[in-house]
């Protein structure tokens, strides 16, 4: 399989179809990253596609010193910010008469893992914890949320997260630390059951 650099050079020399290789290779990561920021699959799909188009437009400015994925992550983050901004300008439906409440089985960002050994009350508690953690993550300040998601959810190293966020590694560490501390406070009702 050709490297990212080969595909990029081919695109820059007029072979636009080679860009499909990059889209195919990175679309999974792109959608996951956008989903973790936006909390909605449709929005994540649109934002990540916008990011791929923006990356294509700016491909001549991509420097080979960084990984393409790192560069793409940053563009995805910007696309997500735009999507959130657009969404915040739209009117929010708080409640609609005659319609049921939002999905009571929703678990937010994270997959609920069924534990056969857990009883019904324990499963309910797990579901509530997953939802509470999703809401707590989404309510973090932007920099803290970005650093936390990149590092703890997407497994991006602190150094790469610093490149994506264009700040120092120490700053990323500080954001992750503060985010973790804030989540601990937000999750304290559930953490008591876990022995914290």
């Amino acid at each position: 399989m050709a490297s990212d650099a080969d595909a990029i050079q081919a695109v820059l020399h007029g072979d636009a179809d080679r860009y499909a290789e990059l889209v195919d290779k990175y679309q999974g990561q792109a959608i996951r990253l956008a989903f973790s920021f936006l909390g909605n699959y449709e929005d994540a799909r649109d934002a990540s596609q916008d990011a791929f188009v923006s990356a294509y437009r700016s491909l001549a400015r991509f420097r080979g010193g960084a990984k393409f994925s790192t560069w793409l992550y940053r563009i995805i983050m910007n696309a997500c910010k735009d999507a959130r901004r657009r969404r915040s300008r739209q009117p929010v439906v708080v409640a609609t008469i005659g319609e049921p409440d939002p999905d009571p089985d929703a678990t937010g960002l994270f997959v609920e893992v069924d534990d056969p050994a857990a009883g019904p009350s324990e499963q309910l508690a797990n579901r509530e914890l997953a939802l509470a953690l999703s809401q707590a993550v989404q309510s973090l300040p932007e920099h803290q949320r970005t650093a936390f998601l990149l590092h703890h959810v997407h497994g991006v190293s602190l150094e790469e997260a610093a490149e994506v966020m264009r700040c120092r590694v120490g700053t990323v560490k500080s954001h992750v630390f503060r985010a973790t501390a804030a989540l601990r406070v937000r999750l304290s009702p559930w953490l008591a059951k876990e022995g914290f």
Binding site: R32, R45, F52, V111, H152, R184
Partner: protein, 150 residues
């Protein structure tokens, strides 16, 4: 187990929720449809740098300006210390000062010799009768000049 360890363990067991089978081919096709409608991103030639990557122009200009200021300061101190006005009769002569008074007198005399001037009572004025008196007068004038300038 601390909270961070518990949290990372929990996150590893609860990955992000995603649709079961996203249509990858459809996703790529959608992106490529939009891309084919765009102008191709031409490979840009390497930018021509009129200035090296380092030092940056702002830093270089700031350093040059600071150096120039230091040079001006040093020159002004040197010129202020070494040059003073000496009086010879009705003439004012720019003379270089010396750290010691004896050396200053010697240099002043040497300057007069260089100018081929003879120090006489007439040229020095009526009140000055001897060379020694004239030199004292010259020294007094010089001290008065320094006092007024400081």
């Amino acid at each position: 187990m601390d909270f961070t360890t518990w949290l990372t363990t929990w996150l590893s067991r609860h990955p992000l929720q995603m649709p079961q089978e996203p249509d990858r081919a459809r996703y790529t096709a959608d992106v490529m449809t939009r891309i084919r409608a765009l102008e191709p991103p031409a490979a840009s030639p390497a930018p021509i740098r009129l200035w090296g990557a380092w030092p940056r122009p702002v830093v270089a200009w700031a350093s040059a300006a600071a150096g120039l200021l230091v040079l001006i300061g040093v020159l002004s101190v040197v010129s202020g210390r070494s040059m003073r006005l000496a009086r010879h009769g009705q003439q004012l002569v720019l003379a270089e000062s010396s750290p010691s008074e004896d050396a200053w007198l010697d240099e002043t005399m040497a300057l007069f010799e260089l100018l081929d001037e003879e120090i006489t009572a007439e040229s020095a004025g009526e009140s000055i009768e001897t060379e020694e008196d004239w030199l004292q007068e010259l020294q007094w004038l010089d001290e008065a000049d320094l006092a007024s300038s400081s």
